[in-house]
Symmetry: C2
Subunit: 879 residues, 2 copies
């Protein structure tokens, strides 16, 4: 038997989303429920995939099945395709597995030609109807020309405009039936002029071309971008729904509308929506006329309203979720054109999930699965006012480095940011790139915009920690910091000008856009409680200071998974001491400089242990190459030479000697501790002394320091550094006269560490997967440089998403899994976590759960997201 | 029962090298064969390992076993340790599994103290004997103080010199017995002065301290360096041999010598060696007196000579290899002190191996195993005259980038090198670093010395291809190229000064040292024939031009495993065309520039196919980041801008835009072909057209081009580029009207490629492991930067050798093995090779054989080495 590619609505059901797409499956579902749906058929997603596999051709067997389905559709609807006496007109719409609103193409009124139009008018010789027929016809020609053939919409709009001018008509409604007929003829002429061919009059040809066009639209650039943003695989393909047309614009007993069973903005339980009398769907969307609230329908057509309410309730009860429905009324008869689980704001998602549980419609597990983890971001950060945002046009875009929305006046340095903010101004700090010197200015700013730097640049990491909106790496900006303006998209933005940033999308706006503050409602706690009850994966945070730590704990962090000690070395005198250490000529001088750093570092750890109130903390030892701590500009070097009391030449030579061809793979991580063991000694002293002090003050905390050696690739390397740690720590503990347990573990961030994890686990008491670096080295490309070619990779569909944002499960993930298994084989009780950026990405969190990690660690504001993703993984895993 | 740590010589045998070390095992062997050996005992290598495991302490059970063995030794030799009447004196010598001549420590005459010395003299009251006793005693104190305690030898020498001055004695022999006694007292006083303690008079204390010292010497810096150079694992440890002393310096009926059963320089079959009457071993080594040839012994002591000849023959027949023996004659009685397989030159190794087969002593397989593959280097490259080399002192050292020895006059640029060479001068080209412009000068030079660049720098790669000696990366040099001199070790070397380079060791000499030309004897062909008959692994070469190709084929290369196409882009107008391509603003301009390159590239491939005469060639597509093709200096950019007809600003901006943070992991390899498919099109056209042309001219060649896509990390990436290749190639082949098969494969050089090799093999018809880059990315360190910390890693014994020279089997090798297995699982007939530097390293070649690769590819002059290593692996594998 031939494979089935085409399904009548009545042959499908709502569980067949993969095959029929969401729209097709739900249309089938409504038909099965006996609801008034114009019955047509769905060409399956498999047909789409086959279309591409066959080289963009629809196979004959599929064409045959479309023919057969069309014949049955004609029978059911008692109309005939192309029959002037009783014509069937159809809409042809895309419908993928996941909703991709507006991304793909639609053709309405398909089946019209001169004969059909004439036949329709002959059967109903009313001038208003005649106008309606030719209006529909000219719209069809325009839509088909645009969507199927790729002609420019504007050329058609231009014909209309010119014609209206000739006629002295201001609006479309000023045009008569005859005018519409003339326009139809003009459109056909334009079509012929541009294509060299007559507009196809055979409805079957129109249909097949429209189906192909929908298939093609799966691969259009905006669909590809949308899929990448929403993680919809290219391989899914789209289905095509062919449905008989009904007309809400037939007369004043007709209309069309959309409605939700609950308020999609707030989640409030009440029918919510709007409709327009005597209109088609596009009129509602176009916004030319103002629709009435759905309640008005009760006044206008009480019976239709009652029927609609009943259907809406049945649908919500059936799908057990808030429904988003499209309907049309034709001559007082209600038709349902679509239902789907409605998109909703984060606040509504929470409220609806909790309400559905309280109403007994779903259980808590289902509720937990109903909220997209990523959505929680919107609850934790300010967002743009949605209406104001609609009116705004971005002037550029870059990396969405830290989520949230911000609006404020441009300033170009940290001191100004601080000063202006102190005067009550909201400011956006715009910098080439940020450095640790900018911290206070970053804190004072609403948002941060940088010209250089990726998702793990200083600006990005610090902003995420603070929860401040940040857009990074906008290479399109030409910076004139000295003159206090920057240029973007051909326009200058001066100090004091308003701009707005969306850190969740990376968009930049050249104006003020009102923002709405983040609000966490009571439902949040209840909902997250359900999630926490289910999850087995622990969630820690990446934090380097008490402020971020306290924030993360508020968000439910169960400890610190990554404390990057180098971030502690930048403030005030510390940077001077570390620079002294770097230029030290021998171990003695190095030790002296480290002695200066010790009290700072110990103080930091003490404060963080206090903030954690007994929760665990993993401290990563010094990681970055030392050149990151020294200046490169001549005047800065001169100044520093003065401060440090060395000659400019000597200092410049030292700094030059720190230069590396590939610093990512250079003298950093534990390699620093191997060459300069004094560093590891100092850091151990700081960690252990801090833990001893805080344990003494709070005996119930029972702090067990976790010391993490970065960039290990070989067990002997870890052992070498661990020996220094143990020797230093044990001496301090012995001297203290108290008992303190501590653990020494390692980052797994180098491929060789993953491959030899069984050996490394003989020394490491825990592994933390540093998937940022592991991704770079496994793929062999540097995050800083990949921008040059990643776009080409997306275009060629070599990559469907950014491996730095979403863990690459096939390659990097395989290494993580291998290392986890090898580690456990050597040391069954080894603790396994992840502390790369991926620790806050829901899909990656689910992967971490599936391979049995103990915890993920992410930036403070991603902690709730990770908690929810972990819960969903546990629930899905249990099923 | 307690573990046995100490073996009497008569308890061991020559198969127990691992436990007793080479010296101990062979002493035991000679005892078993009834030869005259002073019988003592060996403290095993396990005792050494345990000594380190126990924290540098000799366990009591080992001390007890030493005591027991000493008691038996006293019995056998009928002497007693510390007994003035009949004292036993012993030597304490190291002896590792592998011979490490001069690397570890020895103490002679141990057991002497005041009473013993007095007792010996009382028993034999002869002034000459008395002098001998005190000379031995003072030597013992000096050696013990140096070796065991670590006092400075020079302080003792100073005491002697001062004493001789006082006495008016010119030479040691001018000192009387009394003088020696006085010196002994002075030495003991010096010992006490420096240590605060009396010199230990208890022979047992002396013995244990000496054993510990030998154990410690396993870890001394020179032993560590030697081990790393010779790949001797640190974990092996050394044994300690305690042997009764015999005295060649007792009188004129005594003597000592060393002899080989065949000439170690030429391999000629004849007893070869030298001896000294009335002398101890150190006298022979010290070179104060000139020894007589061994034949003289036949005149001096015919019976002893006959006995020695008989023993030498028995030993050679027993060990079936040339023996290197030490002997001492005490009062006309012969004692054997050591035998071992003798070190020999490459020429001798070949001659001996072939001769032993012809004499029926060993079979061909054994002969093949007898020559170290690395040794063949010496047959293929000029070497220094060994005597002249002994007298020379290096002025510096750097990376041994291309083997062989070279001597010549310093020149500082390629044009001078060419001009001077044309005048018959031998020159050494000294450069900061070389660039493709220098090719002709490099060809003209005897050797190349660079200040910058590693083992894979331009200079290194090109020099290895040419077989020219090269020492690279000598950062100690201060270059004054404009003034035509360089400074090294505080001394200036001007243009025209003689220097010499040893490309096998990396040493640099500030003088002319005569060299001996490479000579390949008839034995070479016969021997390599035996090797080839055994090996299953094919050996290809890395070559980018016909000259290297022809050389490699002469050395037995079976094809080209890696043709780096970028090397073809540097000469003359080509570099201009590639620069035009780089600055092209669109695909059209890029195509036009590539059109210019096409004839060059096609011509190169044609010439190489001709040179290969039907052997296969793997062509790697453009790999390096584009910035490698453009200048960075302002004046060069200005000049280029003029040539290309663009503004300086535009060109500078373009070049700036090519800058990358980590170019190793940047926009290179197949990423170039993804962003600029035109490059792959041009290269495919060149390869296919060349193959078509050469096949047409030589139908018997049946060329099957192998096209290799570099830096692949994901199968879709390979498929994308392969599609371009196939489309271009198929069109050309169809147009040619002939048939041509070709293969498309990939480098596996990115960890992700290894991890996903099963997927990649769906598209790749062959894998070539690029272990240079794979090592960098698997370890996460860049070769160019690793110099900053690798020394510390060697010192800390984290690494025992350079992973770029020797394939890291644990990590990188595991990935190679995994990829090979995954590749074969998907495509059982996939062809597997390796083309990294490791392809010419014997140990790595053996690994490649063991995991079932089909071929290795290496630089032309390493082809014979790889052939031999592959044969040895096959023979070892068959056993």
């Amino acid at each position: 038997m031939a494979h089935k590619y085409v399904y009548l609505f009545k042959e499908g059901n709502e569980t067949m989303r993969e095959l029929l797409g969401g729209k097709g499956a739900n249309l089938a579902g409504m038909v099965n429920m006996g609801m008034p749906v114009p019955q047509g058929f769905t060409v399956s997603t498999e047909a789409c995939t086959r279309y591409y596999d066959d080289g963009k051709v629809i196979a004959q067997e599929i064409l045959d099945q479309i023919d057969a389905a069309l014949a049955v559709t004609e029978e059911i609807n008692e109309k005939k395709f192309g029959d002037p006496q009783n014509p069937l007109l159809v809409s042809v719409r895309s419908g993928a597995r996941a909703s991709m609103p507006g991304m793909m193409d639609t053709v309405l009124n398909l089946g019209l030609n001169d004969e059909v139009a004439a036949g329709m008018i002959a059967a109903n010789p009313d001038p208003a109807f005649e106008r309606f027929v030719y209006d529909s016809y000219r719209r069809f020609i325009q839509m088909f020309s645009d969507v199927v053939i790729g002609l420019s919409k504007h050329d058609f709009e231009h014909v209309i405009d010119k014609f209206k001018e000739e006629k002295g008509a201001k609006q479309d409604i000023d045009l008569s039936a005859d005018d519409m007929k003339t326009l139809t003829a003009k459109f056909k002429a334009l079509y012929k002029e541009q294509t060299g061919e007559d507009f196809p009059s055979d409805p079957k040809v129109q249909l097949i071309e429209a189906v192909k066009a929908v298939f093609r639209s799966w691969d259009n650039p905006r669909a590809n971008v949308y899929r990448r943003m929403n993680e919809i695989p290219y391989s899914w393909g789209t289905a095509v729904n062919v449905q008989p047309m009904v007309y809400g614009n037939l007369n004043n007993n007709s209309g069309t509308g959309v409605a939700f069973t609950r308020d999609p903005a707030t989640g409030k339980k009440a029918l919510f929506g709007e409709y327009l009398i005597n209109a088609q769907g596009e009129d509602v969307v176009a916004g030319v006329r103002t629709p009435s609230p759905i309640a008005q329908l009760e006044q206008d057509m009480p019976e239709v309203y009652a029927q609609f309410v009943e259907i809406a309730n049945r649908l919500e009860n059936h799908y057990k979720d808030m429904q988003d429905m499209e309907f049309t009324i034709e001559n007082k008869k209600l038709y349902m054109l679509q239902t789907r689980n409605g998109k909703r704001t984060a606040a509504a998602a929470l409220k609806i999930a909790v309400a559905l549980v309280e109403e007994g419609m779903i259980d808590e597990d289902t509720a937990v699965l109903r909220v997209e983890p990523q959505q929680l971001d919107a609850l934790l950060h300010p967002q743009f006012d949605s209406k104001a945002l609609k009116a705004a046009k971005p002037i550029g875009s870059a990396l969405p480095a830290s989520p949230g929305a911000a609006t404020g006046r441009v300033v170009f340095d940290a001191a100004d940011a601080k000063a202006w903010a102190a005067n009550g101004e909201k400011v956006i700090l715009v910098r080439l790139e940020t450095s640790p010197d900018d911290i206070e200015g970053m804190e004072a700013a609403q948002g941060i915009l940088t010209v250089r730097g990726g998702m793990t640049s200083h600006a990005a990491v610090v902003a995420r920690g603070m929860g401040t909106c940040c857009v990074s790496g906008c290479g399109d900006i030409t910076m004139h910091a000295a003159e206090k303006y920057f240029t973007l998209g051909g326009k200058d933005y001066k100090e004091g000008d308003y701009i707005s940033l969306d850190g969740s999308t990376g968009k930049i706006y050249g104006e003020a856009i009102p923002t709405v503050e983040a609000t966490i409602s009571g439902d949040f706690e209840k909902f997250m409680g359900w999630a926490d009850a289910k999850r087995t994966l622990k969630v820690r945070t990446n934090a380097d200071n008490p402020r971020d730590t306290i924030q993360a704990v508020k968000f439910g962090a169960e400890g610190i998974g990554l404390c990057r000690t180098e971030h502690m070395f930048f403030e005030g005198d510390r940077i001077k001491s570390i620079r002294k250490m770097i230029i030290a000529k021998d171990a003695e001088a190095r030790k002296a400089a480290l002695e200066e750093l010790l009290p700072y570092q110990q103080g930091d750890f003490t404060a963080m242990y206090e903030a954690l109130e007994g929760r665990p903390m993993t401290v990563r030892y010094l990681d970055p190459p030392l050149h990151e701590f020294v200046p490169t500009k001549k005047n800065e070097i001169e100044e520093l030479a003065g401060e440090l009391g060395v000659s400019y030449e000597e200092l410049a030579a030292k700094i030059e000697s720190l230069h590396e061809s590939n610093p990512m793979m250079g003298h950093r991580g534990c390699r620093l501790a191997v060459t300069f063991p004094e560093i590891a000694e100092m850091q151990t002293t700081a960690v252990i002394n801090a833990a001893l002090a805080v344990n003494a003050a709070h005996p119930d905390y029972n702090i067990v320091p976790e010391i993490m050696i970065p960039l290990v690739g070989e067990v002997k390397e870890l052992k070498f550094v661990k020996d220094i740690v143990v020797k230093t720590a044990d001496a301090l503990i012995a001297a203290s006269g108290t008992d303190l347990h501590y653990k020494v573990g390692t980052m797994i961030e180098i491929p060789r560490a993953a491959v030899t994890a069984d050996q490394i686990a003989t020394e490491a008491e825990f592994f933390s997967f540093g998937t940022n670096d592991l991704t770079q080295m496994t793929f062999g490309f540097s995050r800083d440089d990949a921008g040059k070619f990643l776009d080409a990779y997306y275009e060629a569909k070599i990559f469907e998403n950014d491996p730095f944002a979403r863990l690459d499960q096939t390659g990097v993930g395989a290494l993580v899994k291998m290392a986890a298994e090898k580690g456990k084989a050597t040391r069954p009780d080894i603790k396994l976590g992840i502390c790369g950026e991926h620790g806050g990405d829901p899909t990656s969190v689910k992967f971490c759960h599936s391979i049995g990690l103990d915890y993920v660690s992410c930036s403070p504001f991603r902690v709730p997201i990770a908690r929810l993703a972990a819960a969903q993984a546990a629930i899905a895993g249990a099923k």
